[in-house]
């Protein structure tokens, strides 16, 4: 780990403040995150070092390592984002009174809020989690770690939103056509489906399918919002850092030091 206390550097536990900051030379461990928690661990360690007075050259974070942070950000948010996106048609179905929640198709405002909350809980939790990580940067080294991680998350969210947007539109226009639904119901007749049940299934699908269009836009909007939250936290951290650096409380690496 680059920010470790060992090695030939003078950083780590150094208490030096502005004007007397130590220049970090390197540590025993190399930064090589394999998962999101490990990546966050590296960020937190380096942040602790920078807060303690270490001046770490951002160029120490080499291109392959930056790429690893990006890749981890991408991988970690893609699957969770996709599962969350699949819950949105249910939430929108609740709002449009097509899907029962708590056993009723006539939900109260609170029930509707519960449906929306459930659809957004993955994205919301992950967004709050990343917002916490995004504030743990001080100098260029930790900033590079955080920005690369968040860039991976942003790309994965955009890709997820695009895939879900296209998939939901395809479901509406090509899969859930009247001809396909009638074909499906005729297939169910083989299992002795009652006529009344067949009609109600047909009508339910006909009413429900518009939910996919609303959900497609809902997923795009929520993805954009939940990506914006960590960036907002990072902006807040930027203002905080600026104050700390201007006041001389902390010292960060500058070119030519």
């Amino acid at each position: 780990m680059a920010g470790g206390n060992s090695g030939n550097g003078k950083a780590g536990g150094s208490n030096s403040k502005a004007g007397g900051g130590d220049i970090f030379q390197g540590g025993d461990r190399t930064v090589h995150p394999l998962g999101i928690l490990e990546a966050i661990g590296f960020i937190e360690e380096a942040y602790a070092d920078e807060s303690g007075g270490a001046e770490i050259d951002p160029r120490r974070l080499t291109t392959p390592v930056r790429w690893e942070f990006m890749e981890i950000g991408f991988r970690s948010s893609f699957v969770s984002g996709l599962t969350a996106a699949l819950l949105s048609p249910l939430a929108i179905g609740v709002l449009e009174k097509n899907v029962p929640i708590f056993g009723t198709t006539n939900p109260s405002v609170f029930d509707e809020a519960c449906g929306l909350l459930l659809a957004m809980i993955f994205s919301m939790g992950y967004s709050i989690f990343l917002a916490g990580v995004a504030t743990k940067y001080l100098g260029g080294y930790t900033r590079a770690m955080v920005t690369n991680l968040l860039f991976g998350v942003s790309v994965s969210s955009a890709l997820k939103a695009l895939i879900v947007f296209l998939a939901f539109h395809m479901l509406y226009f090509f899969v859930l056509t009247d001809a396909n639904v009638i074909g499906f119901i005729q297939f169910l007749y083989k299992f002795n489906l009652q006529y009344d049940a067949a009609v109600s299934i047909f009508l339910w699908i006909k009413n429900f399918k518009s939910v996919f269009l609303t959900s497609a836009y809902f997923v795009v909007l929520t993805s954009a919002f939940f990506v914006a939250v960590p960036y907002a936290a990072m902006f807040w951290a930027h203002l905080r850092n600026k104050k700390l650096i201007d006041a001389g409380v902390v010292n960060v690496f500058k070119e030519g030091n």
């Binding site: 928690l37 969770s80 819950l87 249910l90 899907v99 029962p100 929640i101 708590f102 056993g103 009723t104 198709t105 609170f110 029930d111 519960c114 449906g115 909350l117 459930l118 809980i121 993955f122 919301m124 939790g125 992950y126 709050i128 989690f129 916490g132």
Partner: protein, 89 residues
């Protein structure tokens, strides 16, 4: 209700209560957990635990399990009612 249960049959609930009473117990349990005040209460507890384990404890497996339970509480009643397995209201 049958008398003098013995052996493994002692754990058969129908040895101790009537069939209608036993079915009513499950009906009441599902309608309590999947709807009404307690349905909402358990749902919110599960969502809270999802956030707690996901954000605070960083244990995403537990967070996913609680989110899944919350989804079952929210939508399970509708599914069971659709198949006419329980009457929630």
């Amino acid at each position: 209700m049958k008398s003098s249960p013995g052996g493994i049959e002692v754990i058969n609930p129908l040895r101790h209560v009537g069939e209608a009473q036993y079915a009513e117990f499950w009906q009441k349990l599902f309608s309590t957990v999947l709807a009404g005040f307690w349905g909402h209460f358990f749902f919110l507890i599960c969502l809270g635990l999802t956030l707690f384990f996901g954000v605070r404890k960083r244990n995403w497996r537990l967070a996913a399990i609680f989110a899944f339970i919350a989804a079952i509480i929210a939508y399970g009643g509708g599914i069971l009612a659709f198949f006419k397995l329980v009457k929630l209201y």
